[in-house]
Each structure stands twice: as structure tokens, then as C-alpha cells.
Amino acid sequence: MNRKASALKAAPGDNSTAAFDIERIRADFPILKQKVYGHPLVYLDNGASAQKPRAVIDAMSRAYESYYSNVHRGVHWTSQRSTEAFEASRGKVASFLNAASDSEIVFTRGATEAINLVAASWGRNNLNAGDEVVISHMEHHSNIVPWQMLRQEKGIVLKVVPIDDDGNFLIDEYRRMLGPKTKLVAVTHVSNALGTVVPVAEVIRLAHDEGALVLLDGCQAVPHMAVDVAALGADFYVFSGHKLYGPTGIGILWGREDLLNAMPPYQGGGDMISSVTFAKTTFKKAPHRFEAGTPAIVEAIGLGAAVDYVSAIGFDAISAHEHGVLQYATEKLSGVDGLRIIGTAREKAAIVSFVVDGIHAHDLGTIVDRAGVAVRVGHHCAQPVMERFGVAATARASFGLYNTRAEVDALADALDEARRFFGR
């Protein structure tokens, strides 16, 4: 397979517009110049973690090189500058989600910690034996296991909304599952394994009709679409920074301010207290009561830069481009002999999971890797989904704003090569 670097440049019809110049965007991501085994890197594993634009890398370097210090403690110049930058990032995330105030944004290590925080704090204090938590069949393990742990501890009941053979969220089944015992609905906004976009506005409306709260796992949604928590009317929304072109080690819990302030702290330590004596400690209000200890300062600043980056491009342009790539990938991959796409829901984000007859996903992954193409293979931390579709593992191409149709072609070529190799 001889492919020149130039072959990966945008082809006509790549949805480049004045507002969205794919070549300029690709130039923003230094790693995309990387060669892998002599081939241009074709990075299609954005669902696992996205690459970082220069703006994020520079913002983090600048923080370390020019004003880094601990936050919320020092009277000195660096601490004040760091605190300002850290809190400015909180404000950027608040605007990004259209939160009512900055106080609704809690920095966590990632979406996993954010869900665990809600389970441990809100869940442990508001849920009792027999109370029901509703999740869906296509949750990431991070939105299953914390609730199972709570089930073990409190005797709550976990209900699972089924999906159909295309991976659609079955809203009628969901409606029938709700009742007076339903206290929380915790579902993904977009499935990481299938790409399904869950009709979350409807999910929230129905849950609220029963007096239940709703937590949305937005990890796979925020990189692809504008999210407005106020318009959705959600109660909690979580995501990870590193899937939004930001750094690892930082994530977001958004929660309605009244809910957050009624929740007990998650961890105890410094930076989350108003006063401490050996007799009694009083806690700060949200978000600080949930941010014990020195936070991931520079990562938070990097996330702020990532939010600025995607906001400047805008989700109208990003979604239009990605949908073009998704549609192209769906058609192109459907043309590969023996390939079956897992997840064909009516509304999808730019994720294509697939299996190829007679070739295990792990072998596919290794072979396409040698052509410079990075895809995820395995169960995607969503084993119930794999089981639902009767497969042990899939390969998954998950697209980001910098991916092109030429890169889809590179994947398809590499898959053809794998098929020839395995004599399929």
C-alpha cells in the first residue's frame, strides 16, 4: 500500500467551508505530521482519547513556564495568576455547557470520577433500599459499576433500558420502566461503542414527570455537538477533558447549584473547607467542597484552552464536517467484503464500530496499525453492548474534527489488505 502524505489531504467534498478549513485545522495538531511505520498517522481513535491542538499544548507550557503555582492559597503573584487562569477555565466550561453559574462546574479527574462523586455523595444520601436507578444497555462501564457498588451497599435496584438491533435507545420501554420508585436516570448522551445519540431531551422530560433526576454521561457528545444543559433541563452532566482535545487527568461534573450545595463532600482535605477545628469542620459551598486537595491546575487550564479552541470553530461547522465523514465512512466500509457495522441507529455521532467475517478485531487492529491507521479494538469498556450484539470485540473508528475522507480511504485500504492477508 503506497500512499503519499499528500493523499491524506482533504479531497473535494470534505465539507471545507470558509468557517471550516480542514487543512488549517489539521495544521493545528502537531501530532498529525507524525509518521507511523513510514506512513502518515491516520488517527481514528478519538473516542478513546483525542489529539491536542497547539493551542492546548501552548497554554499548558505557558502556565508552567511563566506563572505556575498552587491555587487558592498564595498571596504571591504566581498563585494569583494561576488561580485566575484556573477559575477562568471554570468559567469557560460553564459557558460551554450554558451552566447557570461557574459554581455549577466541579473539576474532577475525569468523567469516571464525576459519576463516582454523584454516586457516593448524592446517591449514598438520597437513595434507599428499593429505590430505582435506570441506566441503558449501552453504558460505558464507568456508568454501570458505580451504581452496582451502590446497589451492593444500599440495596437499590438497577434497571437497564434495552436497545434494538440497530442500537437505538428504546424510549417506549424506558417510559414503561419509570415509576414512583425511579430516583435517578443515568444514561449516556452518545454511546461510545455504537455512536448512538440518545434522545436525551425526551429522556429527561419523562424522568422529571416521575420526579426522578437525570445524569448524562457526555464524554462522547461534547466533542461532536453543542450541549446546552439549561435547554436540556438535565440535573447532572459529566465529561472528560481528554476526549475534547484537552489534557488527561481533568474532567467535569456539572450539577444544578441547589443539588450540589445539598450534597455532602466526596473527599475531605484542604481547599474544600471553610474552617477546621478538631471539634468541627465546616465545608465550602460547591464547587470547592468537591475539590479537596491540590487540583490538576495546568490540566484545567489546558481544558479551558480546548474549550476555546472548539468554540472558536463552532459546532455547526464541526458537526457538519464530521457528519460528512461519518456518512462517507459508513458507505465506504459497508463496501468492504464481509464487514458488518455494529450500531446503525437513526441518529449517530461520528463513530463506526464493525466486525469483519473470520478476522478477529485484535488481528485487524494490528494489521491496520502497520499501515499507520489507529483504531480501537476490543470491547470498548462496554461489554454488555458486545454481548447484546453477540460479538466478543469490535474494531472502532471514531472520528474527530481533523479527520478526512482520505483517511477513511486509508482505513478501507488497510482493511482490504487484512482480508487478503487472511485469505478472506
Binding site: 511505520y37 473470520g358 478476522i359 478477529h360 478485531a361 485484535h362 488481528d363 494490528t366 494489521i367 502497520r370 479494538v377 476490543g378 470491547h379 461489554q383 458486545m386 466478543a392 470485540a393 489488505e417 492477508f421 487472511f422 485469505g423
Partner: protein, 159 residues
């Protein structure tokens, strides 16, 4: 096709992967264990029948996984038949070294397993693919667990 891939997916491996030998369940095994590689979803069960002298009278496996893990399990069942547990243990050690050590010398320390090692040497291509070593050794780890009386092993340290 790149050479390392040809080296990894030799025809013998593809053949074992497609039609694994001893791919069956033993009805009354002396011991068995389940092996999981949670990273890629490989799952297999290894069954062992030991005779009175402690030799492996029969060994078989069932499961699903990538070509490398299936081929390795298949080849393992072929080379282990008739071996004592000590010989099996030693063979695993040699095989593991072959899969992981760049300075592995097939000719060195020949302890009577030259034949088996020669057959297993088609899997030595995994050395160039560190992430795939677990695929090649899963069946062997599972065999070892079965012998030790452990029910289940995982390449990620937790069941």
C-alpha cells in the same frame, strides 16, 4: 505486506487459527481453568487430563479470540501431550522467553524440548508486537492456572 506482519501471521498460524487442534471439551478433566484477556475480549478454557504418573494424557481447549491466541492455544495442546508437569512448566518458561526476549537463543539450554520449541518458534514473531505477547501466552497462563488449581486467570491481574 510488511515483513513483520508476515513473520507474525505465518501460514502455520493462520491455519491453526482457522482450524484449531484439540478444540474440544474434556468431559472429566483432572483440572481446568478459564483464561481471560479483558483488553481484547479473548476467552478460553483449558482442560487437562493427567495420568497416574503425572503426565499430560490429554489436553484440549475451547474459546474464542484472535488468530494469535487461538493458534497458540492449538499449538500448545499439540506440544504438551505426553509431557510431565515439570516439563510443561519448563517449556512455558522457554516459550515465554522466546516471545519476550530479544536475545533469546533457540539453540541454547536444550533440555530435550528442541522439537517442541522448534514448532512453537513460528510464534516468535510476537516479539515485534509487545501488545500481542499476552495473546500468545494466554493459553499457557491458563494451563498453568489449571495445574495450580486456580479457576480463573486474567492477563490484567484481576478476574
Amino acid at each position: 505486506m510488511r515483513d513483520e506482519l508476515r513473520e507474525l501471521y505465518q501460514e502455520v498460524i493462520l491455519d491453526h487459527g482457522r482450524s484449531p487442534r484439540n478444540f474440544r471439551r474434556l468431559e472429566h478433566p483432572t483440572c481446568l481453568a478459564h483464561g481471560n484477556n479483558p483488553i481484547c475480549g479473548d476467552m478460553l478454557v483449558v482442560y487437562l487430563d493427567l495420568d497416574k504418573a503425572g503426565r499430560i494424557a490429554d489436553v484440549a481447549f475451547q474459546g474464542q479470540g484472535c488468530a494469535i491466541s487461538m493458534a497458540s492455544a492449538s499449538m500448545m495442546t499439540e506440544v504438551l501431550k505426553g509431557k510431565t508437569l515439570t516439563e510443561a512448566e519448563k517449556l512455558f518458561e522457554r516459550f515465554h522467553d522466546m516471545c519476550t526476549k530479544d536475545d533469546f537463543d533457540a539453540a541454547a539450554a536444550d533440555d530435550g524440548d528442541a522439537d517442541a520449541m522448534e514448532r512453537l518458534s513460528v510464534l516468535s514473531g510476537v516479539r515485534e508486537f509487545p501488545i500481542r505477547v499476552k495473546c500468545a501466552t494466554l493459553a499457557w497462563h491458563t494451563m498453568q492456572a489449571a495445574v495450580k488449581g486456580e479457576q480463573e486467570i486474567s492477563t490484567e491481574g484481576a478476574p
